[in-house]
């Protein structure tokens, strides 16, 4: 039911969104959001939404309480509710925002175009709608009105209908049942394949960057496609598909052969994700320290020959690391810089994520 307060509520949400948009750069680079990610909502701390007034400061840390205890005992869980404690949520307020709203804010602020699903052979989903009528069916689906009308018509035609005593008897042949029709509705699906280098040179700091970047990539793509699959591949000199948890926490030592990851990705796509039916996004995160130049070239060859034609986008995100040459990005740019669906970005610290997301998605592919 519409309430009078809905307008005020909408206005409040609008203000909150504006505030989030203003601070988006900060949110993009903050890990706190990820932990609070619920199923559909993210709880976001919003600052400065309250109205300032003259009030007592933090030094008002004394008061009167009620309960057991002797001098020196701690009160409650340390949160005093003396004169100062009655003020609600000092400075920061937590607001629930749905992931879609968040993605919309992201899209607006970064002026990201809507993604155009590629290809005509989009997958179609089947759905049953109860829109038809049949002569036979279960009693639970009997269409009473139609059945009654038929019975009435039959009785009038056969002269059995008596207006004085209008009793209608529905016979078996009169009965009509609802039935379903299968409707095909087009649906665009997408799969994101995240690949990450977990060799010794990728430390916790680098992984945190990847995690943040992946969160926002996920949020934006989810906004644009209805069903999204995420697959995760880790590699050092060998590659393997892993679950999300492992992806972010696994740590290996040793060298790096990036081509191994691409090989696994090709296998994965061939097996499960036909490019006619899926919008495919491939993201690779690494510090760019590949074992050999020739392997890097091999990667580019694989991309060009086996992947680029099938996928919407290959995004390569190179995170800064204390070790290694970080040369892979140069090879990719040199070999594939002209390809429309290859985009690279460098992320040296959390502040770069903002630009990185923008780079990846500003083409709308």
């Amino acid at each position: 039911m519409a309430l009078r307060i809905d307008k005020d509520h909408q206005r409040f949400r609008q203000i909150v969104k504006g505030r989030i948009r203003k601070d988006l750069r900060k949110f993009l680079s903050r890990g706190e959001l990820l932990g609070k990610e619920g199923k559909r909502y993210v709880s976001i701390p919003v600052r400065g939404i309250e109205i300032p007034n003259f009030r007592y400061g933090d030094n008002k840390d004394t008061g009167v309480g009620q309960g057991d205890g002797k001098p020196g005992d701690q009160v409650g869980d340390g949160e005093g509710s003396g004169p100062g404690g009655e003020q609600e949520g000092r400075h920061v307020m937590e607001v629930d925002v749905s992931l879609e709203e968040l993605a919309d804010i992201l899209g607006e602020e970064l002026s990201l175009p809507r993604i155009q699903p590629k290809g005509k052979n989009r997958i179609t989903a089947e759905k049953d709608r109860y829109s038809g009528i049949r002569q036979a069916g279960p009693e639970s689906l009997r269409h009473f009105k139609r059945s009654f009308k038929r019975a009435l018509r039959r009785q009038i035609i056969t002269g059995l209908y008596n207006p004085e005593d209008p009793r209608i008897i529905i016979e078996r042949r009169d009965k009509q049942y609802r039935s379903w029709k299968t409707v095909l509705s087009p649906q665009s699906n997408a799969v994101i394949v995240y690949m990450m280098d977990v060799s010794g040179s990728m430390g916790d700091e680098q992984k945190e960057l990847v995690r943040l970047e992946a969160f926002w990539i996920d949020a934006w793509l989810r906004r644009n496609f209805r069903g999204i699959d995420s697959r995760y591949i880790v590699h050092d000199v060998r590659a393997a598909e892993v679950d999300r948890e492992t992806f972010y926490h696994l740590r290996e030592d040793g060298g790096t052969r990036i081509s191994s990851a691409f090989r696994t990705a090709i296998e994965l796509l061939d097996k499960h994700y036909h490019s006619d039916e899926w919008n495919i996004y491939l993201f690779h995160f690494s510090d760019g320290d590949n074992s050999s130049e020739s392997d890097s070239r091999e990667c580019c060859k694989m991309l060009r020959e086996q992947l680029l034609a099938k996928i919407n986008l290959f995004g390569y995100c190179q995170v800064a690391s204390a070790y290694g040459s970080g040369n892979f990005i140069n090879v990719v740019l040199e070999q594939l810089g002209k390809e429309a669906n290859v985009i690279t970005s460098r992320v040296n610290n959390k502040d770069d994520i903002y630009e990185s997301i923008k780079t990846f998605f500003s083409k709308g592919i």
């Binding site: 519409a2 007034n53 004394t62």
Partner: protein
């Protein structure tokens, strides 16, 4: 299109209970305006609560924020609003539609306690008893301004006013107040004939056409203020900043209208803040008395006891106004029934003697219930006291001991709150400080023409606690938006006297000493 709020009428059995309970309440001596109960569902209840109990308020996002928070905490089961009641004639009270019958009866009994308090407590004497209509009028007026000047302009101005809304003087209600700006304007306009215009004789109905009114002259605010005889420098430091601004600040008419709306509503709500403990205590005293004496059926006792104790529960470090209020009232009733009051009793420091007070004497005939001296006393208390005088007058060492009150303070080394002691004087002092001015700092208007430059000078009266600097600076910025000349606030911070200033571009803080204080400011501690 928003539907009107009144959609669920009271079911018949509840309507009958309303009658019955009102009867019991009257029999016990409660005296209230007619009380109309309405049923609301969760969502509507959240709306009404966000609107401060009213079905309608002026448009502002803050109500939306309240609503979202209330609804959220209700959805998560963190809180539940059982009832709301508005101080109005007739009183309006709302029942939550899916409460059990026991709860509904409890709420009704509780509501009659509130209604009696609204009608009879002296601090509510000056509140508008047609506030429901008035709030709707305010909403209409603000909407009209929104239509003329735009949503965001008006909203920004309301934000500014709300930032200052607590800067009123609740005690001034008991003095003769100056007429508000609007009244002055209208009466001035009506009484003052246009002297400088040439007038032709005309019949009354032709007057407007033959002698058209001259176009309004632009009003120089200072000249207007002088003409009205208001002093821009108050004789004594003033607490009612909003009134001062209404008289002295260069406001457009719509701005003055909005500011006066905010001020009027602040005065309406002020007594509820001043009497939180008493009001809730009184209502709880009565729901408990009426429920246990008349209303409860055997099978409802457990539910009632559960919900009553839930409302009265206090968590460590938090004082529950319901609990303190009801127990203090019961304590007063008990003391007056057993003669534990008066000069001799108050001055007796021997706890043992106090405990055995009057033990040997004959017991008066009626010691409980109606017409007992204790009951008469608490009726008197509910008539004349507010929270501060209530605590000041009736808190006893026995009470503090029995209800295990303690005084706590942050431990300087760990920063954690720890119990300091159970000293009666300190606890009483602590409670009084907590209640003073609804736990907001006392801010005074000292000078409206500071340094002879038309700047506004405010002062904080320090009573042991510093004000929050960050908020003070932000609030000063809002004040500047209204005053439109530099604004200053003098406040004690860490034993230094600091002058906070905002001149429209930047804010600054400087240390000042006694001699620099403008004239009346030296009188503020």
């Amino acid at each position: 299109m928003p539907l009107p709020i009144r959609i669920q009428t009271l079911p018949r059995h509840l309507a009958e209970w309303v009658e019955t309970i009102a009867g019991y309440a009257r029999r016990e001596g409660l005296d209230f305006y007619e009380t109309i109960f309405e049923m609301l569902d969760y969502d509507q209840m959240s709306q009404v609560a966000a609107y401060g109990g009213f079905p309608q308020r002026y448009p502002h996002w803050r109500f939306g924020m309240e609503y979202e928070q209330l609804r959220k905490s209700q959805t998560y089961g963190l809180s539940k609003i059982y009832e709301m009641v508005i101080n109005n004639d007739p009183c309006y009270a709302y029942l939550l539609s899916d409460n059990s019958l026991t709860d509904q009866k409890l709420v009704m009994a509780h509501v009659y306690g509130h209604c009696d308090f609204f009608k009879n407590n002296i601090w509510f004497a000056h509140t508008n008893r047609r506030m429901i209509d008035q709030m709707a009028n305010h909403a209409t007026r603000v909407r009209r301004h929104v239509e003329r000047f735009g949503y965001e302009v008006v909203e920004r101005f309301i934000d500014t006013c709300l930032s200052l809304e607590e800067l009123i003087d609740p005690y001034s209600l008991f003095m003769k107040r100056e007429p508000s700006r609007q009244v002055i304007k209208e009466s001035e306009q009506q009484n003052k004939p246009d002297n400088d215009a040439v007038r032709y004789p005309a019949k009354p109905y032709m007057e407007r056409y033959i002698n058209p009114p001259s176009p309004k002259k632009t009003i120089d605010p200072e000249a207007a203020a002088r003409a009205r005889g208001h002093r821009i420098i108050p004789l004594k430091p003033l607490r009612d900043l909003l009134l001062f601004l209404l008289h002295q600040a260069p406001l457009a008419d719509w701005q003055a209208d909005i500011l006066s709306i905010i001020r009027e509503e602040a005065y309406y709500f002020a007594p509820q803040g001043q009497t939180k403990i008493m009001n809730e205590g009184w209502a709880s005293y009565w729901h408990s008395t009426l429920m246990t004496r008349y209303i409860l059926r055997d099978d409802e006792v457990i539910t009632y006891a559960d919900h009553h104790s839930g409302t009265m529960a206090s968590s460590p470090g938090r004082l529950n106004p319901y609990k303190i209020g009801i127990e203090l009232l019961r304590d007063i009733e008990y003391r007056w029934n057993t003669g534990r009051h008066g000069k001799e009793f108050d001055e007796c420091k021997d706890m043992a003697a106090r405990r055995k007070w009057n033990a040997g004497r004959t017991v008066p005939e009626r010691v409980v219930g109606m017409d007992s001296p204790g009951r008469q006393k608490i009726f008197e208390v509910r008539r004349v006291h507010n929270d501060i005088t209530f605590i000041d007058e009736f808190l006893t060492p026995e009470f503090v001991d029995r209800f295990k009150l303690y005084h706590y303070r942050a431990d300087p080394t760990t920063g954690k709150m720890v119990i300091v002691n159970r000293n009666f004087d300190q606890i009483k002092q602590g409670l009084l400080v907590m209640l003073a001015n609804h736990c907001r700092p006392y801010i005074y208007v000292v000078d409206g023409n500071y340094a002879n430059r038309g700047e506004l000078y405010l002062a904080h009266k320090h009573n042991g606690f510093d004000i929050d600097i960050r908020y003070a600076v932000e609030t000063l910025k809002n004040l500047y938006n209204i005053w439109s000349r530099p604004v200053h606030l003098q406040a004690h911070i860490d034993n230094d006297m600091i002058l906070f200033s905002f001149d429209g571009n930047q804010s600054q803080q400087q240390r000042i000493n006694e001699k620099e204080l403008p004239k009346p400011a030296h009188r503020i501690g």
